[in-house]
């Protein structure tokens, strides 16, 4: 751990005193980056705002899919599915075995149970226990007949799995509230093992840290890196596939999927967009290039990162509305939150709060004959 605490700057003078060979200088550079990497990995947890927000959005995506398909649940995933027998023979996952033998009623309770778990996951209630159970339940339902799913399900499954190793309840969660309300039980070195086990269990239950800080930081940060990597790979490979296609090169590719009956819920909206060839062309190229250069845009500067994230958000919003695929979009966006810095979240939170105060005032003004305003004066 001494490496972590040593600032490379403090070594500078001694290094300049005696000239070093090329090998020595190379080793210095290596040590420097080793220190940087180790500091990044173990000293602090990164992207905790992003991880917390990803928890909320991914939970909303699970909720959205399950609730909006509630009425057709039996037909799609349950005992009424035409494909269940055929696909069960060729199934790739063990979790769906949990629901394979269920009748309508059992499946209904299972389905409602997973919805309940997703609500708790959004609220951040005992996320360490609720999260894995929700993931398992979700995979059992959604992946029972994988061919009916879309790529959004893939990123949800992989992304949620990665989130399970992250600290996702630092903000906006009931776990965080409980952590503030309770105190971590101390582990005493010679306090007797029974007492210490009880302390660990209590800390686990109250969502206090259990692992040594360097280890929990390391796990969190490695999985943050894994999630970022996974997302970057998605964008790059999606971009590479597109560059292979003539229509993407011609700049007309976006026109075609939008013409398909299943992706045209509001034909007039689609017609407005496709009416202007320039719009189709620009949008097609922007999609291809943003995907291809996504990682580059992320690291060049804060400005390019914001541009890249804005474009990604914009095109997922368009997919959600124009193609009636809101959950696919949300599944994709849920994990992109990891790219947004903490500062932005704080600024955004403050903005929402300010608007919230105004909205609250409006509410009290509108309902003033009915209720008394609790805070008679505003801050400014």
């Amino acid at each position: 751990m001494s490496h972590v605490l040593t600032q490379p700057d403090t070594e500078e003078p001694s290094r300049e005193e005696e000239p070093t060979s090329a090998v020595g200088r190379g080793l210095d550079v290596l040590t420097h980056w080793y220190d940087v990497a180790q500091t990044w990995l173990m000293c602090d947890k990164h992207s905790m705002y992003g991880a917390s927000f990803a928890r909320i959005l991914s939970g909303c995506a699970v909720l959205g899919i399950l609730i909006t398909n509630f009425r057709q649940r039996d037909l799609l995933f349950g005992p009424g599915s035409v494909w269940n027998k055929e696909r069960a023979d060729a199934n790739f996952y063990w979790p769906p075995d949990l629901v394979n033998a269920m009748g309508s009623t059992e499946f209904l309770f299972f389905y409602l149970g997973v919805i309940g778990l997703a609500v708790l996951w959004v609220l951040g209630w005992h996320a360490r226990i609720v999260g894995p159970l929700m993931l398992l339940g979700n995979v059992a339902i959604i992946e029972r007949i994988p061919i009916l799913g879309d790529q959004g399900d893939n990123i949800l499954r992989v992304g949620l799995f990665i989130l399970m190793f992250m600290h996702t309840t630092e903000y906006w969660s009931l776990d965080a509230k409980r952590r503030r309300r309770t105190r971590a039980a101390q582990i005493v070195r010679h306090g007797g093992s029974g007492r210490n086990v009880r302390a660990v269990v209590r800390n686990l239950y109250n969502s206090h840290p259990v692992l040594p800080r360097w280890l929990s930081n390391g796990i969190h940060n490695i999985t943050v890196a894994a999630l970022i990597f996974q997302l970057v790979i998605i964008y790059i490979s999606a971009g590479m596939f597109k560059t292979q296609g003539d229509l993407w090169q011609h700049g007309t590719a976006l026109y075609y999927p939008l013409q398909l009956q299943e992706y045209k819920p509001f034909p007039f909206l689609t017609d407005i967009f496709t009416h202007f060839g320039i719009m189709v062309g620009v949008a097609t190229y922007v999609v291809v290039f943003t995907q291809l250069f996504f990682p580059l845009l992320l690291i060049v500067s804060v400005a390019t990162r914001r541009i890249a994230i804005s474009i990604v958000l914009l095109f997922h919003a368009s997919i959600a509305v124009m193609m009636a695929l809101p959950w696919f979009s949300l599944e994709m966006v849920a994990f992109d939150t990891i790219f947004v810095s903490g500062t932005t979240y704080v600024a955004f939170g403050n903005w929402v709060k300010r608007r919230g105060v105004a909205l609250g005032d409006l509410w009290y003004d509108l309902t003033s004959p009915l209720r008394r305003r609790p805070k008679p004066s505003r801050a400014h």
């Binding site: 035409v82 790979i233 998605i234 490979s237 597109k242 993407w248 009416h275």
Partner: protein, 226 residues
């Protein structure tokens, strides 16, 4: 990370060389990011189903075709959230065509030439298909999808017709979307600009009823969305 990369990007010499080692990623980390690439689908794909019955004179008659894909898509049209039930046959369409196309020509013609009044049992069909060509799992792959559609067709036709059905079959209809250059026309012009649809019609299959929950589910869905 390297493994995920190789599994995700388009196939190349490196990923070909490593493909044997990448099996462990599937299913959980399985992913495909083609997403309308290299070239997006540019045709509407509909699955239609039909039944056959013997009328009072002893002649073989067929029910009207039911465009089941259109029925399904009622849960998408004019909705902010496209219900998943709206995509079932669209998603299976590709697999139905591919598994059929993967068989030998002799097997394909056997699969199509079956009788409406007395279709073969599934076992008989499987036996004759495997006799006509190599038994390398392709027949099983085809029959898995074929049987599922026969089950769906049986439920749909049962919900629509009171006749005593002797056989069911399905059709895969493909029609190109309005050409890009014709997109400015009026609605009638745009419809006229689309090329004629093509239909591949399956052989007749024995009615294959699924469990009660499935038949009721399909009937209820049909009632609500036809």
């Amino acid at each position: 990370m390297l493994a995920v990369t190789l599994a995700a990007v388009p196939t190349n010499p490196v990923s070909d060389a490593a493909s044997a080692q990448l099996g462990y990623l599937r299913p959980f980390f399985g992913q495909s990011w083609r997403l309308f690439a290299p070239n997006p689908v540019d045709e509407d794909r509909n699955l239609l189903v039909q039944g056959a019955y013997i009328d009072a004179d002893g002649d073989v008659r067929t029910t009207p075709w039911v465009d089941w894909t259109s029925v399904e898509q009622d849960v998408i049209e004019h909705r902010l959230v496209g219900g998943r039930a709206g995509y079932i046959t669209t998603k299976l369409f590709g697999a139905l065509g591919e598994t059929f196309g993967a068989m030998e020509p002799a097997q394909r013609s056997l699969a199509v030439r079956t009788s409406a009044p007395s279709p073969p049992s599934w076992d008989a069909l499987q036996a004759s298909l495997t006799r006509a060509g190599p038994d390398d799992g392709k027949v099983d792959g085809y029959l898995r999808y074929d049987r599922a559609v026969a089950r769906l067709a049986t439920s749909v036709i049962a919900a629509r017709s009171s006749q005593d059905i002797t056989a069911v079959r399905y059709a895969l209809r493909e029609q190109d979307v309005v050409p890009y250059d014709a997109r400015h026309g009026t609605s009638a012009e745009r419809t006229a600009s689309r090329p004629e649809p093509t239909m591949r019609i399956s052989g007749w299959r024995a009615p294959t009823p699924g469990p009660a929950a499935e038949r009721q589910g399909v009937a209820e869905f049909d009632r609500r969305h036809r």
